[in-house]
Every structure is written in structure tokens, then in C-alpha cells.
């Protein structure tokens, strides 16, 4: 009986000491492992950003023909935007959004998907997006697309349709900076955004969807 109690006491003491040791040693081991992972991941992402920069420059050279029409359509939209903004004059800028949306939708009431993302340029966009969002070194970029993406964040739903408003209060996906380096640059009046996997073009003042490329991104990942 006495022997059993002694054994139980030793076993309990061992478990107690082991628990303390685990508490003292395992926490720092875990946190330093996380920091090391962060450093490794950060180095990968930095390399990837450089690759993205080069990919953007390469695309400029290789796909000039397809990009020519895209740029022409973007420039056409930029002119429309500038004219409508000028017409609104000195109105309180805070109230410009709605007026701009009305004006642009009335001027583009026959606009349809693919007017700007024309058929010829779509494969280029899909390739550039795939290069930046698929593969082993793209986890951070895919996470970024998920962050703020209205389909991921319990945000008001965004109806992806040409001329539809990007709803007030809907969150915005973070467009990975590496992807922005690879994609053709846009004028200040337009922005790329993701809604789910769709790449959309949004008017930065009117907050309307100008065009979209469906299922452009691979499946989203959340952290």
C-alpha cells in the first residue's frame, strides 16, 4: 500500500515537472519556430515580388498586340470619366460618387462584359494571374486576395455585373502588390479588385463595375 502511494507520488511529481518543463520550453520553441517560418516565407515573397516585376515587363514586350486594344479601351474609358467628372464641376466631392455613377452608366448603358477585357487579352490576364497566384511561392498572395474579399468577410454581397454599383459597406480584397506589378497598369480612375475569384475593374470615383473577368483567380485560401 505504502509502495503504491510512493509510486503514485513519484509519477505525479514527474508529470508535474514534465508539465512545467513543457510550459517553460515548448512556448519559446513554438514562437521562435513561427518567427523562423515568417522569415523564410518573407524571403520567398520578396523573391516572388521581383519575379512579378520582371513578368510585368516581359508581358509588356511579348503581348503588345493584345495589350494595344486593352489600352485603347482603357484610354477611352479614362476620357469618359474625365469628361463626366469635369461636368459635375465644383460639387462637394463627397457627393460626387452617386452623380458620377449615374452619368457613366447613362453613357455606357450598352456596355457588356469583355468590352475592356477583350477576348484577345483575356488569356494574357489569366496567365499573369495564374503565375502570381498559383504555385508553391504564392500562398501570401492568395491569402491577400482572400483578405477583405467580400465573399470571405461576411460583407454585403457584390453583384458582379457591368454597371452594377460596388455596394457601400462592402469590403475590398487586397490586391497583392506583386500582382499589381505584373498586370498592365491602370490610370487613377480605374482599379483592379477581386470579388470571389472574379477580377473586376472598378471606377475609383463612381464605384461601379466597369468590366470583369470571371473566375480569374484560383481557389482562395484563408489563413
Amino acid at each position: 500500500m505504502k509502495h503504491h502511494a510512493k509510486c503514485a507520488s513519484r509519477a505525479t511529481a514527474f508529470m508535474f515537472v514534465a508539465s512545467l518543463a513543457a510550459l517553460g520550453l515548448f512556448v519559446p520553441a513554438t514562437v521562435s519556430a513561427q518567427t523562423a517560418r515568417d522569415k523564410v516565407e518573407a524571403a520567398k515573397v520578396a523573391k516572388k515580388v521581383e519575379k512579378a516585376r520582371r513578368a510585368g515587363e516581359r508581358a509588356e514586350k511579348e503581348a503588345q498586340e493584345a495589350l494595344k486594344d486593352f489600352r485603347k479601351e482603357v484610354a477611352k474609358y479614362e476620357r469618359l470619366h474625365a469628361v463626366q467628372l469635369a461636368r459635375l464641376g465644383t460639387r462637394d466631392p463627397a457627393l460626387v460618387q452617386e452623380a458620377m455613377a449615374r452619368a457613366i452608366v447613362s453613357k455606357r448603358d450598352d456596355a457588356k462584359p469583355g468590352d475592356i477585357f477583350e477576348r484577345d487579352v483575356q488569356p494574357l490576364f489569366r496567365r499573369l494571374i495564374a503565375e502570381q497566384l498559383k504555385g508553391p511561392d504564392t500562398a501570401a498572395a492568395r491569402e491577400a486576395v482572400g483578405e477583405g474579399n467580400p465573399t470571405e468577410e461576411g460583407s454585403p454581397p457584390v453583384l458582379v455585373r457591368v454597371n452594377a454599383a460596388y455596394p457601400a459597406g462592402a469590403s475590398r480584397s487586397t490586391v497583392p502588390p506583386s500582382l499589381l506589378l505584373a498586370l498592365p497598369p491602370l490610370p487613377a480612375c480605374l482599379q483592379y479588385l477581386f470579388v470571389g475569384r472574379d477580377l473586376i475593374l472598378v471606377d475609383s470615383v463612381a464605384q461601379i463595375i466597369v468590366d470583369f473577368l470571371p473566375a480569374a483567380a484560383p481557389a482562395l485560401v484563408s489563413r
Binding site: K2, A5, K6, A8, S9, T12, A13, M15, F16, S19, L20, A22, L23, V27, P28, T30, V31, S32, Q34, T35, D38, E41, A42, V45, A46, K48, V49, D92, P93, A94, V96, Q97, A140, A141, A144, E147, G148, P156, A168, G169, S171, R172, S173, T174, V175, P176, P177, S178, L180, L181, P185, L186, A188, Q191, S204, V205, Q207, R223
Partner: protein
Amino acid sequence: MNGARVGQFGRLLLVVSLAQCALWNGPPRTEAPPPPERATTGARAGRLATLTLPLTAGSVRFAVIGDTGRGNSGQIEVGRQMAAFHKEFPFDFVIMVGDNIYGADAPVDMVAKFESPYKELLDAGVKFQASLGNHDNPNQRFYKLFNMGNERYYTFRPPTGGGVRLFALDTTYIDKAQTDWFEKELASSTSDWKIAFFHHPLYSSGRTHGSSLETRAILEPLFLKYQVSAAFSGHDHFYERVKPQKGGIVYWVSGAGGSLRKGDIAPTTMTAKGFDRDYHFMLVEIAGDELYFQAISRTGVTIDSGVVHRPGAPVKVPAASPVPEPVLVVPAPVPLATPVVTPTPTPAAKPTPLG
């Protein structure tokens, strides 16, 4: 006798195990508001927690808030606390690190989610300088009280100068136009203190978001090239001061001015100080080569404070240490359970250097 010992060991073991469970799993991650009984100290009772900032004549003084725009009780109480501290520490401006207005942003929402919670400060002439978060309509750049000059990203110098320049960035959309602009502004700035503020943290121990590695890959090289001294961000809904990173830059996450994810800080070795139990705001004072900071909870409790020596600036004392690395000095932490309260304002005490 032995049986009693076994029982004692058993109880001890249970306590240790429970403590471990609490550490590993962390408290539940929710956006739940803090318990109401804790909202009765600080400014509400007309008393202030101790101010640790030195109040040096001619210094640059500002506050930092992030992820605020909900119009909820947490935001309103932080606003009250800020107003109370403003009486003792008259800061000129507040930087907002994004997610300034969640959801709808019609004029009535701007009142409920911004103008009303900070009415006292606005009435006192405090300027708010906003940066955009992923929940913000970019057209907030046109909203006069955010002082963004109609731009998604901009730079300004504080009214008191002090060799300080601040840069507000839009990290939801870092296109080439923005990085080109940022580089040009950094290159032409002659200010000693270059401080960036933006939404997505380059370094964060948040379980929900954590470090924005893509953003870091773009911005950090510019920070290093042009000697940015410090950076403030939000996005993760807690307070975190990160240990000095490359170039000695200190990063803060201050994303719980109106949003809170309790227990969202995962332990990492880069955390110098973290607080994820309640809403908070920050006060900052820059005097010469020193940046003093104080993070204050919704209830007026000091959750972190200290002083950062400007990276790259010569260290005057101690003479024995010629390394130009930033010196981070943090006073002993103030217990969280019992707010430090001074019934009558007293001259502010300087933080005690610990080395």
C-alpha cells in the same frame, strides 16, 4: 500522509495543466464587446490614468487609432478617454490607420461612426489624418474631416514641425503609381523622423491576419533605403508593439479603436508587447531624437509605454555604447487589473529606463 501529498500534487498538476490549456488554445476569438462593468473607470469617473509622456516644450504630439468606424460603445468610450487625455496631453492631430468607416458611409453614418465619437476632440480643433483600410470606400479621401486632400495616399508635416514627416499609404491597393510617389517623397524629405502609417501590418502576431508579407516585400526596402523611423498600422484588432526589425524600425499594430478580437495575438518572439483584451488608443510624443509612446485601454489603463531612440541617430548616453541601433526603453508594466489613477493631475513622470 502520502495520500494527502498525492492529492496536493494532483491539484497542482491540474492547475498547471489548466494554465497550459489556456496558453495553447487562447481565449475565444470573438468581436464581443468587453464586459460593461469595466467601463466605469477612467474618463467616465472624471479621473485619468497616469500620463507617462514627458510633455516637452515644442514637441510633436499626436494620437493613433485604428479600425474604429463602427459607432459602437467601444469606439465611443475610447473617444471619451482620448478627450480626457487630450486635456492633460494636448495633441494636435490623430492618425487613423484605416477601417475608419465600416459598412455604409452616408452622411448620417459619418456622424455616428466618426463625428460623434470624437466630437469633443473635433470641437477642440484636433485634426484627424486618415489612411484607408480594406473596409473603407476610397471616396473617403474626399471627406473633409479626414484631411486627405482628396488623395488615397499623401504626406504632411505636423503643425509644430519638429523634424517630423508622416506618410499615409493605401495598402489595400499598392500600385506602381503609389510606390513611385512614395519613393519620390521619401527621397526629397529632409525630415529626421519619417513615419509611415497604413492599414495592413508588415509585422503582426495576429492569428486572424498576421504579417502582410506581400506588403512588406514592397514597402520595407523603401523604408530601409530612405530610413523610415517607425510605422503604425491596424487591421489586426489588438495592440502590439513589435521589437525593432530591419533598420531598427519599430512597428506598431493599433487596430482596436472600435473593433476587438479578444485573444487574437499568437505568441511570437517578435512581440515586444501585446494587448488583446480590450479596445485602446495610443499617444505619441516626439522630442528631438526620442519618440515617447503610451498605449491606453478603453478604461484608461496604460497597457504599454516607453521611448524609442530614432534609428540611425547618434546615441548621446551612455557614452560606452557606440552602436547606432535604436534604444528601446520600456518602463515596468502597469498592472492591468488595477488602473493607475491620479485624482488630480500631477507633473508627468518620465519613463524609467531599463536598459
